[in-house]
Amino acid sequence: MEKRIKGVSYAKYGYIFCIPFVLGFSLFMLYPLVHTIVISFSNYEGASRYLSGRFSVLDNPLANYTRLITENRLFWTSLSNTLKIWIINFIPQIVLALVLTAWFTNRRNKIRGKGLFKVLFYMPNIITAGSIAILFSALFSFPIGPVNYLLELIGVREAPINFTISLSASQYIVAFIQFWMWYGYTMLILTSGVLGLNPEIFEVSEIDGANGIQQFFFITLPNLKTILLYMLVTSIVGGLTMFDIPMLFNDGGPDSATTTLSIFIYRQAFSGSFLLNRAAAASMLAFILIAVLSVGVFYLLRDKDAARLKKEEKALRRALEAERRAG
């Protein structure tokens, strides 16, 4: 009854008001996606084709893919760099964020200044990533940068370290910047997840004599699974498309050690020989990888999780009921 007043149907406005979104999506996302797929099957490479915009689909449409996978070492290097940098940033990030979440939501020992800490921890996330990358490359500069100066001051090193020519140092620094920029965000999401939980489950467990650590592992963590899943998936998507920091910290170097998938794609397409077809194929492989990983994560964690959550909820409700009857 609610959709009609005096016999007028308003349903059509639902369609009308969605037109801009649908148009925008089709023009700027769907069409470019299809176009990227077509380019990935084509001979769209070299300056002259690039300028004329004329290209045709190859006789063997998968040639760009097979060439990337079988011949292109840099593609594999950039893929493994991306995964490596993502893992060394994500694991400490999620661990620190969980620890901070446990501390900030601790019910017995209230921490003061939480608001200020949150503001400070989140701050790096909102600053232009490009500026941060340039700033860190200045901080780590050789032989007279602030980091080298501090290391000398506390007596850790004898001679200045040239961070920018060390392969693993560059990877670790890029991973560190990512970690430093994102742990605050992760913590904020996790904390609000905990605050969104029903306080009764904590109260009941306290009556049962659970301590803070037990509460964290047996109540908080299982209940945060959906949010952790969300963090994992968004972090995979963000990590696999990482561009600004490695590009500006050390130009993807040294010796391609911080060349990520996005930098690889960017360079294939827009520098030197304009291999737009190869770049498009690499983009599609990245897309497939992202899709497989995200769907995989969802599949592995979700069903089990939902079933268990339901079971826990039932058990909890029973416990609460018993509690109420006893009290």
């Binding site: 801009p20 990227t36 501390w103 400070l120 600053i127 999401i189 600004d244 992202i290």
Partner: protein
């Protein structure tokens, strides 16, 4: 009771030590940056970690203004145009779409929402090549339009706006406006949009900052120096200034982040609670 208080004292000492260290870690790089922006390259060479500002701000400024591509005022203006346009497109049309998803009963409503949820996860970067090629053929390279218009379809913002509407919207107001003879489109503009102000405010901050910080697409699409946004100018900083002019480099970075600092510290309360809103959604 006694041992618990010792335990909790230890716990608090640990927590505050770690939190203060992390807090300093967030601030310190920027502290070094701002101070070094006022120092000469010579001073930085002698002592890279400063404690006090020096008096070479003007000198560093002169070095920066001599560079061709780094022009902070122009960068601010260009970034403002792009970010402003992006905010308008994404906020207005996301509200409209979210309104369509909550206020009207139409057959495709649920499938359409599922569709929006599904495309939320697709990273825009992977279609860059096709997007670029399309813009090239349309003659939109080196224009702000391809940076602004795609914001019309922002699935994430639609999702947030819908969540907000579901919690606050009531059909009664709309129905009484209908009885007064208002058209559907003007009901949206005059009644629904003002109602959504709190959600609009939070999302505006995030869209604005996100667009202001974007580097990848602007760098791919823009080619004229005078159209460069702030992040592109920063990315060219090291190539533009003689590499040993550290003071000037620090000043350039500082100028690029000052607007964000101002926005962040004046609105931090809303920004933090805005992010935390995202966490409670499930």
């Amino acid at each position: 009771m006694e041992h618990k208080s010792i335990g909790s004292r230890f716990f608090k000492a640990l927590v505050y030590t770690v939190c203060i260290t992390l807090g300093l870690m967030s601030v310190y790089p920027f502290f070094v940056m701002f101070l070094n922006a006022t120092r000469s390259s010579n001073e930085i060479r002698v002592q890279a970690v400063p404690f006090l500002p020096s008096s070479f701000l003007q000198l560093n400024m002169d070095i920066i203004t001599k560079s061709k591509q780094f022009n902070p005022m122009l960068g601010f203006r260009n970034s403002l145009i792009v970010a402003g346009g992006t905010v308008f497109c994404s906020i207005y049309f996301s509200c409209l779409t979210a309104y369509a998803l909550t206020a009207y009963n139409w057959k495709m409503r649920q499938p359409f929402f599922t569709f929006i949820m599904a495309v939320m996860m697709i990273p825009g970067q992977i279609v860059t090549i096709g997007f670029y090629s399309m813009m090239w053929q349309l003659g939109f390279i080196d224009s702000y339009l391809p940076l602004i218009l795609p914001a019309v379809a922002s699935p994430t913002i639609v999702f947030f706006m819908r969540q907000y509407l579901l919690a606050t919207f009531s059909l009664d107001i709309v129905n009484s406006a209908r009885i007064d003879g208002a058209g559907e489109f003007s009901i949206f503009n005059r009644i629904v949009l003002p109602m959504m102000k709190p959600a609009i405010a939070t999302q505006t901050i995030f869209v604005f900052v996100g667009s202001w910080n974007a580097l990848f697409l602007p760098r791919v699409l823009l080619s004229t120096d005078s159209k460069f946004t702030m992040p592109i100018m920063v990315s060219l900083l090291r190539g533009n200034i003689y590499a040993t002019e550290f003071g000037a480099i620090y000043l350039g970075i500082s100028m690029s982040v000052i607007p964000i600092f101002i926005v962040y510290f004046t609105l931090s309360k809303y920004i933090i609670s805005g992010i935390q809103l995202g966490g409670v959604k499930e």
